[in-house]
């Protein structure tokens, strides 16, 4: 089975250039790719968390599923072809510390792209969706850092690449 590169799915950004400005569909497509990776990643990392912490990973995964479906609908509405999830991603988590670390990476990857959408679109509805997604990911990243003992647990500019 082919295993997709999770880092690429999370971190490859739709860069706008003078010659090829990104449009909303490109930014939404990049977000959808990251959302697929986040849904998969939370499934992997949740298995390494204890009973007290696992529910938070389940909630996070549910939230990313909702965003994934929203993004898919927005792409379809724009006549774009929404990417399907990869069958698997090359991610391995061996313990709780690794699980918390991956959770932070997943949220940072989503935050990066939500912020790209705010700064790359003039569509008010998309900006509203994006800032809401960015806030959610920033808060979840902070919660995971707190659980992992990472200090400071907040960052000044969530979504900065």
């Amino acid at each position: 089975m082919t295993r997709a590169d999770m880092t690429r799915a999370l971190m490859t950004r739709a860069e706008a250039t003078e010659q090829a400005p990104t449009d909303d569909a490109v930014l939404l497509g990049a977000l959808l790719e990251a959302a697929h990776a986040a849904v998969y990643g939370y499934g992997v990392l949740g298995a390494r968390l204890d009973d007290a912490t696992r529910p938070e990973a389940v909630l996070a995964q549910d939230s990313h599923r909702v965003r994934r479906d929203q993004l898919t609908a927005l792409l379809v509405a724009r006549g774009a072809d929404p990417a399907a999830p990869e069958p698997a991603y090359d991610v391995a988590v061996s313990d709780e510390a690794g699980a918390l670390e991956l959770a932070v990476v997943l949220e940072q990857g989503m935050a990066l792209r939500w912020r790209d959408l705010v700064g790359g679109s003039d569509d008010v509805a998309l900006r509203r969706l994006a800032v809401s997604g960015l806030q959610e990911s920033a808060l979840r990243a902070t919660r995971w850092r707190l659980l992992a003992g990472v200090r400071p647990a907040t960052v000044a500019f969530p979504g900065r690449g």
Partner: protein, 159 residues
């Protein structure tokens, strides 16, 4: 002093009343980004004041509050630019009335109440930054969205 919306509308009404409808539209006097940025600056200054007030009353909270205060100082810097190279016009802004009311924090009686009050102020600022980022240029919207997200995450480390 920047004209208020009312003053701009009033001036437009005078032009219309004087029958100057054939005159070319007056150039936009207010850059919308300036209004949005001023609002965000006022919010960050209000938060910095709230943290300073709390730190003075409850020095034992320093380890928890100082990292967050530092982030607000970074936010303010990102909005206003570095102070040494700031143009002379920037000196007018501190005395300008803030467009949004700065969070007034009456001295809470316990550290727990003080933290809850700061968390409330963070939530209010997060909402206002998020609303502001729907308008304005893409570059400013991107910055305001980051501030909205940062403020949204701060209550998690306060309470």
């Amino acid at each position: 002093m920047r004209p208020t919306r009312r003053q701009v509308l009033g001036a437009s009404a005078l032009l219309l009343a004087a029958g100057c409808t054939d005159a070319p539209a007056p150039p936009s006097v207010v850059d919308p980004d300036d209004v949005l940025r001023d609002g965000a600056v006022a919010r960050e200054r209000g938060l910095l004041t709230a943290y300073d007030t709390t730190l003075a009353a409850f020095p034992e909270l320093a380890a928890r509050l100082l990292p967050v205060r530092t982030e607000h100082a970074e936010h303010l810097l990102a909005l206003t630019g570095p102070p040494p190279s700031a143009p002379p016009t920037a000196t007018a802004s501190p005395s300008a009335p803030p467009p949004a009311a700065a969070p007034a924090v009456p001295p809470p009686t316990t550290a727990a109440l003080a933290l809850a009050s700061l968390a409330d102020a963070e939530r209010a600022a997060a909402g206002a930054h998020a609303a502001a980022c729907l308008e304005g240029s893409r570059a400013l919207a991107s910055l305001l969205a980051a501030l909205a997200a940062s403020e949204h995450s701060h209550p998690a480390v306060l309470t």
